[in-house]
């Protein structure tokens, strides 16, 4: 009995190994499953989303009527006045603005810290990286919520200032709105920028900067002509990973805007959830997708896909 089981065990093992014998089989087994998964749960839904954006939905049965129409796109830009006064266009423009300011802010703030981390090793590095990573790993929702407590007319910032006696009433700047959203998004995506820049700066040969200085370049010139070109892939991939999610943000504007600011993600969500307007939502989503395709196309002129992974 014992030998028979081990015989069977061996043959199962041999069959398993045998399945990997040919190159085609190995490729099929390794590449296949993910391909099937991505095809079923990513490519098909996204393709259909594009299709749905050109259809209409029966208002009673919520069934899609498969007749091509531009009504959804028309609706995005149709309103009382010209197209730039429609809710959709204003929210799209505002989202671009907020995402752009957030990206620049993250870049300016993260550069010095990334430089410090790249130049200093040891305990300083470990402690700082821990202090940076912990908020990074903390749930995004929790971080958005923590700023929600800070801002607002009776939030921690305003109530503390009033208590200390610096101001008499709540300050507008600490109320919910665009500044609060920018702070919240900067806090949320700052680590992406930092880690991208750090990955680039860490691979930088600092003897090059010393050489530049020895040859008479000023600090500014060294930064401009030596450091910046070499860390450009990091700057670009970091910017991409801040700009793209900031553009489609939902939670942060939802809580830190408190209804005063409508970013594109919220606009889409509200139409889908309250009206099940999937055609409208899909059409609006196409503008986010198109923006992202453009952003990546621009980025790929300077970096390769491997740079984005930091590999």
């Amino acid at each position: 009995m014992a030998t028979e089981t081990s015989e069977r065990g061996r043959s199962a093992r041999e069959r398993f190994v045998g399945a990997f014998a040919s190159r085609a089989n190995r490729l099929g087994i390794t590449a296949g499953p993910a391909l099937v998964w991505l095809f079923l749960l990513l490519l098909t839904p996204l393709t259909f989303m594009v299709a749905v954006s050109f259809t209409s939905v029966d208002t009673f049965t919520y069934q899609i009527i498969w007749e091509p129409t531009l009504a959804n796109y028309d609706q995005l830009f149709a309103g009382e006045g010209p197209f730039w006064q429609t809710a959709f266009f204003q929210s799209l423009a505002l989202s671009y603005f907020i995402a752009a300011v957030t990206t620049v802010l993250c870049l300016v703030l993260a550069f010095p810290l990334a430089y410090l981390l790249a130049r200093r090793g040891g305990t300083t590095f470990k402690v700082v990286i821990f202090l940076v990573l912990l908020p990074f790993f903390t749930m995004y929702l929790v971080r958005a919520y923590s700023w929600y407590l800070m801002f607002g007319p009776s939030g921690v910032l305003n109530s503390t200032l009033m208590r200390i006696g610096i101001t008499d009433g709540p300050l507008g700047i600490f109320n919910y709105g665009v500044p609060a959203i920018i702070v919240g998004l900067t806090h949320a995506y700052f680590p992406y920028m930092l880690l991208s820049l750090y990955a680039s700066l860490d691979g930088l040969d600092f003897s090059l900067t010393e050489a530049a200085r020895d040859l008479g370049a000023s600090r500014a010139e060294t930064l401009r002509d030596v450091i910046l070109p070499l860390v450009l892939p990091g700057i670009i991939s970091g910017s991409l990973f801040v700009f793209v999610p900031a553009l489609g943000a939902f939670i942060t504007p939802r809580f830190l805007g408190q209804g005063k600011v409508l970013m594109i993600g919220q606009l889409i969500e509200s139409r889908i959830n309250s009206l099940y307007a999937i055609g409208y939502g899909s059409a609006a989503s196409m503008f986010i997708v198109a923006s992202i395709v453009v952003a990546f196309a621009l980025a790929f002129r300077y970096v390769s896909i491997e740079d984005l992974g930091g590999v």
Binding site: A31, F48, L116, L131
Partner: protein, 305 residues
């Protein structure tokens, strides 16, 4: 970038007018010292910025008045008691743990296999395959959530006659796709630095392919697989927007927290959030001492809504 600096601390110190004459006014060493200090000041200020809202929230989780400091009414543990006694909240926490574990397992299995395909084989449309594999991380949550909602709710039943009621499994499926890129990026980067001659040596010494995989390949790749799993797990656990669309009537932790903020129940929100910060702090401290977490992280900038 017109200000003098070798470090990008242009926001910190050094005015344009100091350039040119500044080198003569400030002697070299003093300037180096100031630049060094400046860098630390900036770093310190940033850490304060990163930490202050979380610190405030943690303090508020222990105070009687849960949304602002003033008027201060005392310290209490009651919020924690109420939070852990909240059955609906604990149930959604348990859902999140289950969803994250199953989704991260699927993502890890598929991601590790795909990484081997990318690292070991040349095949047609390889770059397209790689891009396709990274895509779920790049597509904004709102878009992926809606696309999958339409897919599960409308297209599958209407066009293909397949009914998957949005709920636990739709969230698992969604998160398994979302987690895939994180595994893929970490494991491929590890495989690229892997010295394949080790495998060849083992084979030359008579090991069969399975033994080579188990005794040579796996131990070297295992930390990356573990890190990939952890990333996929955290991404699933903290994801709100994708789950929000495809969850049906099931609540995961993030959707419960969302309603808590929306309906203004700050005390429990502070407590559960602070508790999560604590858990993550412990896990991260352990992980950083076991493996090269920062190296891993640098290779996987992702997106979050």
């Amino acid at each position: 970038m017109a200000t003098e600096t070798d470090s990008g601390t242009e926001t910190e110190r050094g005015t344009p007018t100091e350039r040119g004459t500044g080198t003569r006014i400030l002697d070299h060493e003093r300037k180096e010292w100031l630049l060094g200090r400046g860098l630390y000041v900036v770093a310190g200020a940033l850490l304060v910025f990163l930490w202050i809202p979380l610190a405030v929230m943690i303090v508020l989780s222990f105070t009687v008045n849960a949304s602002t400091f003033f008027p201060f009414r005392g310290v209490t543990l009651a919020h924690y008691g109420a939070t852990f006694a909240d059955e609906a909240l604990m149930r959604s926490l348990w859902h999140s743990v289950q969803v994250a574990t199953i989704a991260a397992s699927i993502a890890t299995l598929l991601g590790v296999l795909a990484s081997f395909a990318l690292a070991r084989f040349a095949f047609p449309l390889k770059e397209a395959y790689r891009t396709f594999g990274i895509l779920p991380m790049v597509i904004p949550g709102v878009v992926l959530g809606i696309a999958l909602l339409i897919y599960f709710r409308t297209l599958l039943p209407q066009l293909f006659g397949i009914t998957i009621v949005p709920g636990f499994w739709t969230v698992v499926l969604t998160h398994s796709v979302y987690g895939l890129p994180f595994v893929l990026l970490i494991v491929t980067s590890r495989l690229y630095t892997f010295d394949e001659s080790l495998e060849e040596a083992a084979r030359d010494l008579g090991a069969d392919p399975l033994t080579v995989f188990r005794d040579v390949t796996l131990p070297i790749v295992a930390p990356a697989i573990g890190a990939g799993f952890l990333f996929a797990w955290i991404r699933s656990f903290e994801d709100f927007i994708r789950a929000f669309f495809v969850r049906g009537t099931m609540d995961v932790l993030t959707t419960s927290m969302f309603s808590m903020i929306k309906y203004g129940t700050a005390p429990k929100m502070n407590a559960i959030s602070s508790f999560i910060v604590l858990v993550i702090a412990v896990v991260l401290a352990v992980a950083m001492n076991v493996g090269n977490v920062s190296g891993m992280v640098a290779g996987t900038e992702g997106e979050e809504e």
